[in-house]
Amino acid sequence: MYYKNIPIWGKKLIFYLMRIKYVTIPSGNIAEEETFFVKFLGFKRKGELELWPNVSCKLLSNSDSDINIAIIPNRYTLNQKAIIIFNTENCLKQYHEITKNGVVFNHKPYYVSAGMIADFTDKEGNQFILLEERSYIED
């Protein structure tokens, strides 16, 4: 479920290519939460993101930032304290590098409509998701 013995040199490598793109907001009422962000905080709707099989999160952003809010259903956060989504350019490679450093992932990397995902949980129960976003519509 979580990392084994991470060598000191490994820690730097782990987070080298990852950047935070989504901040998750757990909510029992997605529509209400979304309305709150849009009406009261001036956020704009940016579509949806499938983070778990058949579970979509609502995405919101304000214009001057490339960090998005992802409203996630509460039931996916019951056992976790925080869900951090890292964007990566190459999920499989990142998964492999982090695994080599001793982290045990919850699942093997898998495909969702947003791209490829792999996730692990730390000792405190915080969940970390590696997301490689892929466009399946030819540009």
């Binding site: 190459n90 490679k93 492999h96 495909y111 892929r134």
Partner: protein, 290 residues
Amino acid sequence: MLKLSNENRIYSSKLTYKNITEVNSNFSLHVNFNGNEKFVLNKKNLRLFPHTFLAINPGTLYSDIIDSDSPVQKLSISFGKGFIDDFKTSFLKNDNSLPDNYGNHLPAQNLTLNETISPLLGDLKYNIEHLKVLIRSNCQDELLLNEFLYHILLNYYTLYQKDILFVEESLKNLQFVTRKEIYRRLSLAKEYLYSNFDQKINIYELSKYSCMSTTHLIRSFRQAYHTTPHQFLINIRLEQAKFLLKNTSYPINKIVNTVGLDSPSTFIKLFKIRYKITPLKYRTSHNSIN
């Protein structure tokens, strides 16, 4: 060539000339990223262009020929027998728990692979691009390379299954054996179109290649893929033109000739209808990104 300890092999090359004839020892996938490459496969003459890939089964006698003024960059993957067997086993096991098998699980059935040209799409395209970068950076990490090869095989098989299921659904009123045979012949028709889109294609030649009468071919093609062979051909030509607009500085006239279309005005009209943008605007938008 990178030979892994489980007999998987990855060949990455940039050649202006190549001419080999051999019996394919393992199931292999061939992708080329620019230019074109000729294959002779069981007496079939095929040409492989960017955006497409060719699968070759073990035991097939084939020739691989490159004869080009500019270097053709290609990637070939040969999957070891044991690796393919492990892959089959992973599908035959009855484990549907999600998400470990989400996107990684396909209906349990005998694994058969189709020896033909197909478009390079979706996750297969992404994973092959990633593998190409790894090979260029001289990666020797077998675990990582095998992870990619597993996913590439999975992506290939998923695309193939999707194509079969789509056709089966469209032809569901026919008997299983008939459906299977029609699928085989339509695959030949598609292969011919992918291989010869830059030529003047005659419907009689196409129907002869796919062992069907002209009427039967057009009717079955439309029924199976919800489009005509002609429209399918136009789409291949437009996709190739899009590739050339994005990756070369060829003038429109040259692109039109290269992809086998009649005139620039027809090309511009078709391109605009299909992609809702003119070819020049498309090229400009990509030049500004790059």
